[in-house]
């Protein structure tokens, strides 16, 4: 069931969302019955500035093909510099990824507001396409660590 029909690959995306802004935006996409690839999975946190870059690397090790951070942008209820802090986290994770042979383009970040249903769906579609082009994480040296 996990494996797709031959020749088809649906990249697994881990989405980090935020409890009060981007997660409601993602909920709205569902409410409006807007479709995006079902291989996107959301883990919701209070704020994207609290993402531990290690989690991102861990996700790749476990087989996620991409990690998408649905940040709050200027809507963040915690702090005005949330975007910059989150961008730093992304940078750090990208460097770490590169160090172990993972394409840093597998980490993406965008601001998703609480009514950004359509942008979210578009991001998911585009990111999924980009990841299809990059191929499965299993093909990258630092990717899915089968032994773990």
């Amino acid at each position: 069931m996990t494996e797709k029909r031959e020749g088809e690959f649906s990249p697994k995306i881990l989405v980090f969302s935020t409890n009060s802004i981007s997660d409601p935006g993602i909920d709205l996409a569902g409410l409006l019955k807007m479709h995006y690839p079902p291989s996107a999975y959301t883990v919701s946190l209070p704020c994207s500035s609290g993402i531990n870059p290690d989690w991102i690397i861990y996700a790749f090790k476990k087989g996620f093909d991409g990690v998408f951070i649905a940040a709050d942008g200027t809507d963040c209820p915690y702090r005005d510099d949330c975007s910059e802090l989150t961008a730093k986290i992304v940078q750090e994770a990208q460097t770490k990824a590169q160090d172990i042979g993972i394409n840093p383009a597998r980490i993406k970040m965008a601001a998703i507001c609480s009514v950004c249903a359509e942008p979210f769906v578009n991001h998911m579609k585009k990111f999924s396409e980009a990841l299809i082009k990059m191929g499965s994480i299993k093909n990258e040296s630092g990717g899915k660590d089968v032994s773990s």
Binding site: M1, T2, S10, K12, L14, N19, S20, I21, D23, P24, I26, D27, L28, A29, G30, L31, K33, M34, H35, Y36, P38, S39, Y41, T42, V43, S44, L45, P46, C47, S49, G50, I51, N52, P53, D54, W55, Y58, A59, K62, G63, F64, T74, D75, C76, P77, Y78, R79, L85, K88, I89, E92, C113, S114, V115
Partner: protein
């Protein structure tokens, strides 16, 4: 000790089970480590399901619970309280969203939706296995509420809140209270006039000594958290002492040589640099528009004791427990040329026209022309298929028809044409429509794709419409005045949205959490919204939400204490090497340097920590985690999603 977890997969009466094979999900997770029981339920949130859960927890000595159902925004609290009733810590309950983020989003791919549900539920089980009991922080709250916006909704809320014993700060940007309703004239239903209504509210307000009014005041900053906010406001000087009166204000205003367009009358008239919005505006003292004042000093000659040109901008910090935003609406401003707006002397917005009616004595005259025929064009700035405002503005059909009735009452021979798309006089307002039809008002219906054309030729204006009520016949009317029935847009809430972090909806108005479950609450605890700041409403509807938000505010603050979410940062003492980076990044001063067991470490002040987690990634030792979102929990969730799904 291993957790004993109960798992419930909700059908949501078909919302989930129509697309997700809930039985299969149940079977796929029932043998997961720690799962003692797994069940499906038609409505997890129903009373009988809740009772069953309590019983299951007690009988099976569960200490963890997972419900896979709708978004946690809807029923996290419902199930947390189930857990609590059964004696488990509410934070050992995990809600998994398989509706908004699964069955609905992937209704086109039921098989994949089922697989996603299995993975998500498993991830919830892993999280539950790692979840630790947490205790909310109890804090005492400030007895104070700020109401931002001194229109009808804000004034009404202030009165209600004051009666509950709360200290109320009513903050109005203009120098006068009353907002839009004071511009409106006679009101639908009771016939009371907007100005009279404002007077009625104002007199109630000044009776209560626990309401403090600031006019000419703007919000500058907002910080803190529910129960204890700091609100920074800036008060612009009025240059007239509000504690002193003068009998001759009217005369003084007349003497002022400066004339500028009067915004209160939407530019139809001019006002002086010393002004009142209208004669009986409150507070009673006029204000000086210092930007336009030439400081000629004429006004000061009469009653010099009331003037004070040395008044400075004052900044205040208010301590409050909650805030209600009643910032209201602005009339939609048609684009230049939209139905001839601004290009022609015969086109006004409905709001302008209402002011014109207020200012008229005897005859209805505009631009020296007596008005005998009026064409109302509906849905201007509303229901725009391709435009910004896709929504219906709700109040305007009734407002235009009511206006037409008032006209007929006052000016017998006036003729009105109503060019509409759908007449939306819902409820008892329908009676006005009926009366208007009886009056002989003429209704012509146009299609959204073929809006009426306004053609101006000098002083002559022609409106051409394809009337759907007469089989699409092209009709020309030649009115003396065209009134654009303009809808509502939010009143400059962009700045406030940034300050208060209140989400806005697709319509750009402030957005509530849920229209039925939490209609006046926002995702920011302690920040409420009411009136037209959250969407178009008529006055009665504004007052309903204003009173609702007062009731909710009182419930929040009346206990004197509040339980705060225990989601705070926690420092691993062994790993911490105090480098100070966490302290640097924290904007809430929640991190302190502390000596413990012979070394310097970071210490989290839980009362100040907001739980954003910004300190986590900056810590090189990875010595900080967030309660409820620990490494074990997050990594457990990732594991749960990624393990292979069998069968």
């Amino acid at each position: 000790m291993k957790k004993r977890i109960g798992v419930y997969i909700c059908h949501c009466g078909g919302n989930i089970s129509d697309y997700v094979d809930v039985k299969k999900v149940m079977h796929s997770v029932e043998n997961e480590e720690g799962v003692v029981l797994a069940k499906t339920t038609v409505f997890a949130c129903s009373d009988s399901s809740q009772k069953e859960m309590v019983q299951d927890i007690l009988e099976n000595k569960l200490d963890g619970m997972v419900v896979a159902s709708c978004s946690p925004k809807l029923h996290l609290h419902t199930f947390r309280s189930v857990a609590e009733r059964a004696g488990i810590n509410p934070y050992e309950y995990i809600q998994v969203n398989i509706r908004e983020q699964d069955s609905w989003a992937h209704s086109d791919k039921p098989e994949e939706a089922t697989e996603k549900a299995i993975r998500l539920v498993r991830s919830g089980i892993r999280r539950a296995a790692q979840a630790k009991p947490l205790t909310p922080n109890e804090i005492s709250v400030t007895n104070g509420v700020a109401v931002i916006g001194g229109g009808a909704a804000g004034m009404r809320a202030a009165i209600e809140l004051a009666d509950t014993g709360l200290n109320v700060y009513l903050i109005e940007k203009e120098h006068f209270l009353g907002g839009r309703i004071s511009q409106w004239g006679a009101l639908f239903e009771s016939g009371e006039r907007g100005e009279e209504l404002v007077e009625r509210l104002y007199k109630e307000i000044i009776k209560r000594n626990n309401i403090k009014i600031w006019t000419g005041a703007e919000v500058e900053s907002f910080s803190g958290c529910v129960g204890n906010f700091d609100l920074g406001i800036k008060i612009h000087p009025r240059f007239i002492k509000t504690d002193k009166g003068c009998e001759k204000f009217e005369e003084i205003i007349k003497q002022c040589p400066v004339e500028v367009p009067d915004e209160f009358n939407f530019g139809l008239t001019k006002r002086k640099a010393i002004y009142k919005n209208y004669k009986k505006a409150f507070p009673e003292q006029p204000a000086i528009d210092i930007d336009n004042c030439t400081k000629c000093g004429i006004c000061e000659q009469t009653c010099p004791e009331v003037f004070d040109f040395n008044q400075k901008v004052e900044k205040l910090n208010l301590k409050i427990g909650a805030v209600i935003l009643t910032t209201g609406f602005s009339p939609y401003e048609p684009k230049e040329g939209e139905y001839g707006y601004k290009n022609s002397d015969t086109v006004l917005s409905l709001q302008q026209f209402r002011r014109l009616m207020e200012l008229s004595n005897g005859k209805l005259v505009f631009n020296n022309k007596e008005i005998k025929n009026i064409g109302f064009i509906y849905c201007v700035g509303s229901r725009q298929k391709g435009g910004d405002n896709k929504y219906c503005s709700r109040f305007c059909c009734t407002a235009a028809i009511h206006t037409s009735l008032l006209l007929k009452e006052k000016y017998k021979d006036i003729k009105t044409y109503h060019l509409f798309r759908d007449i939306r006089t819902y409820g008892k307002q329908e009676l006005l429509y009926r009366d208007s039809c009886k009056n002989g008002d003429i209704y012509l219906k146009f299609d959204e794709n073929q809006p009426p054309e306004v053609i101006t030729e000098g002083e002559n204006t022609i409106v051409r419409i394809k009337d759907l009520l007469t089989e699409g016949e092209e009709i020309e009317i030649n009115p003396d005045l065209i009134v654009l029935v303009t809808g509502m847009v939010p009143r400059n809430n962009e700045r406030l949205e940034k300050i208060f972090k209140v989400p806005i909806g697709r319509d750009r108005f402030f957005n509530e959490i849920h229209p039925k479950l939490r209609p006046v609450e926002t995702v920011i605890d302690g920040v409420f919204i009411a009136g037209t700041s959250q969407g178009p409403k008529n006055l009665t509807e504004s007052i309903l939400s204003s009173l609702s938000s007062s009731a909710k505010t009182y419930s929040l603050l009346s206990g004197g204490t509040l339980q705060l979410e225990p989601i705070v940062a926690i420092v691993n003492k062994n790993a911490c090497e105090w480098c100070g980076k966490c302290d640097e990044v924290c904007i809430y001063d929640a991190i302190e340097k502390k000596e413990a067991e012979g070394k310097t470490i970071a210490y989290v002040n839980e009362a100040l920590c907001k739980g954003c987690g910004s300190c986590i990634p900056v810590c090189e030792q990875r010595a900080i985690e967030l309660k409820g979102y620990t490494n074990k929990e997050i990594m457990g969730m990732i594991d749960g999603i990624m393990e292979e799904v069998n069968g």
